[in-house]
Symmetry: C2
């Protein structure tokens, strides 16, 4: 039988990252691919107790629930965002989603018509690009440096292209691991205000800050005129399997997203939502997050030190101030997609940088995850990776001569 | 700020059913509205134990998982559908979804372009109509009687309109509570084969059969040529809050739906998926379902007996052989949407039939749910409802004279 599918399926493809994950889960490859938090840090007992309470203390937790999400959870999130992110929003301005991935999807569903323009960083979060293109939008990258989007190019593209939305991951980004400066954040907001463009601020990693001190404020906390939608998740700070994210912002947009969610899946798993309510009451989540930060910081430093020892012209990386990823530039003659095959043969995996680019992929980039392996394994894995890198460099030099 | 939304939002509206639910949850209204299973029947201890096992015995249950769903759950579903529904499919042909609502949404996402035709029964499941229209399809009703769609009208509409899909709830339907006959099922399949049309068989209630004996086989079990997608859920047999449904069918369609799901929400809550694996191993789900069936059957009979005592010309109803709903026709001069307001004032709620119609709503119909109230409350609620109905009839007669 030959089926007639929608136009949309042309834009669906399996994510390179997740396909690699599948391969790497088998066998004893040390993986710097994927974006998995460390299973060893999961607060198993606290999660188990929280679920037990959720299930046994409240039959409502097992019944159908409201599309917007469990009110007590939205109340806690409202308080928490006020305390930690300086975002002042009522529970009614929050929608609980099945992970922040669903927030991006529902936002897209209510915002985009085919042909609409979305401005993004380049490289940026792969699975957001997939969602945007599945709604037949045109994604256009804005020139950026370490501090964020370049103001001139941003204004030029806003004026010329009239985008529907600007999508950014300004704090410990995936894949780049970078943090936007305060000035660039302000500039983005000013331009959004001037030209009336909505911003989707994706902040899954904001809690994973390595060193004490100020990080620049969230865009949402500086948004005075209802331009910013802010989404985050419990996947990196509690456990991913619950699939609980949220999005907060202008009530009119949140309300339409709720209606879209009602058609999409009625509501998010409410056992997990009630469990989070109990977890945040009974468990010191902030202390737990500090443990995660310290652990990931240590691992990042191990990875960084091993990279520092490599003597290779053209090798550079960005030292992340938080999050889960290190972004590495290899010498220009090295194609990391080709390199991956050899690396996996040597028992180490990473993600080539190319798929994260909107256009003109830099084929010599790679993303290394440092959160899912112990320091010993990071050391062993980096030794394997450096061997493969040096071989590739030798071969590329031999080709030249 | 005035936002520019997608065309799609025109088709989003809050579901009448869920909006009524919100009102009815407050106060002491006896509700025959909504479609809630009885909280008193939730297997709380078994669910709690299953979650504890899922969380404590396997760290993978807390990590990111595969989009297709937990393999062991798909394996159990494959076995269970073979035993209970005579559907022979591999685990690889199953996609786990966030409730069967998401199955309908993901199916629509990969199948429909704006303007595509979907054939349905009339009345039919409200939230499916909402999904179809949100993808800008044109939903066209097929003439039906108690046994299912009428073959002549179905063939005529297939030939004339070339539909992309036929959506049916053939077993204990929502809202009608009816069961398609074997002959009509075969006729539908033959026409789907003849004209190459995909069928989406929605079966959330199939397990809730009241009396012993044969129900006609599922469409999926008779599908020899890969035309039928079959979706069901644990919401009515275990608990709704887990939001675990599934869809099974031709591998090519399931695979594309998985890719769509990856963009939509990465994967379904895997703690709940692993909990279901344990639940089905440790708990006699079939015995539990028998208790649910017996309880709902008893409640339906209480409701039916009270309706039988009403002496009102033009009042008729369909006695359901399973499921959760009774469909009532009132005398033609009574508009049930107007009636609802009075009913709620008297402390009883139902859902007017009109929103379930694709076109030409019968304003004198209503859907009564009998699963979420005890027999005593059903009796009290029906007494209130009959009073309101009789008053409405008196008033309509007075108007005539």
């Amino acid at each position: 039988m030959k089926y007639g599918f929608s136009q949309r399926v042309r834009y669906l493809k399996s994510s390179a990252v997740r396909d690699i994950l599948k391969v790497v889960n088998n066998g004893d490859v040390i993986s710097f691919a994927g974006g998995l938090p460390d299973e060893g840090l999961f607060p198993v007992d606290a999660v188990s107790n929280a679920f037990q309470k959720a299930i046994e203390s409240n039959p409502k937790a097992l019944q159908y629930g409201e599309t917007e999400g469990v009110y007590d959870l939205r109340k806690q999130l409202s308080d928490r965002m006020r305390r930690h992110k300086k975002i002042i929003r009522r529970p009614e301005d929050i929608l609980i989603t099945s992970g922040s991935q669903q927030a991006i999807d529902l936002f897209s569903r209510i915002m985009f018509n085919p042909g609409d323009i979305v401005l993004t960083e380049d490289p940026t979060y792969l699975a957001a690009l997939q969602v945007f293109s599945s709604y037949e939008t045109k994604v256009v990258p804005v020139e950026s440096d370490q501090d964020g989007m370049l103001e001139d190019d941003l204004e030029d593209k806003i004026k010329r292209l009239k985008p529907k939305c600007i999508y950014v991951v300004p704090t410990y980004s995936n894949p780049g691991g970078k943090v936007w400066s305060l000035e660039r954040r302000k500039a983005l907001l000013q331009l959004a205000n001037k030209y009336h463009v909505v911003i989707l601020e994706d902040d899954p990693y904001g809690d994973l800050q390595f060193e004490q001190g100020e990080t620049p404020p969230t865009l949402a906390s500086m948004d005075e005129n209802e331009y910013v939608l802010y989404t985050s998740t419990f996947s990196k700070t509690v456990v991913p399997a619950m699939r609980i994210g949220w999005i907060v912002g202008p009530h009119q947009i949140i309300r339409l997203m709720s209606q879209a969610k009602q058609a999409a899946d009625l509501h998010t798993n409410s056992i997990s939502q009630y469990a989070l309510v109990h977890l945040m009451q009974d468990f010191d989540l902030d202390k737990h997050i500090q443990v995660i930060r310290d652990t990931y910081y240590e691992r990042m430093l191990v990875m960084k030190q091993l990279l520092d020892q490599v003597n290779m012209e053209g090798l550079s990386y960005i030292e992340p101030k938080g999050g889960m990823f290190m972004w590495v530039n290899m010498p220009e003659m090295i194609n990391t997609t080709n390199l991956l095959q050899k690396a996996v043969e040597q028992g180490v995996a990473f993600v080539p940088g190319a798929p994260f680019y909107v256009s003109d992929p830099k084929e010599n980039t790679m993303r290394l995850n440092f959160t899912n392996a112990t320091p010993n394994l990071i050391e062993e894995g980096m030794n394997r990776l450096v061997t493969v890198m040096e071989q590739a460099q030798m071969e590329s030099i031999e080709k030249v001569y």
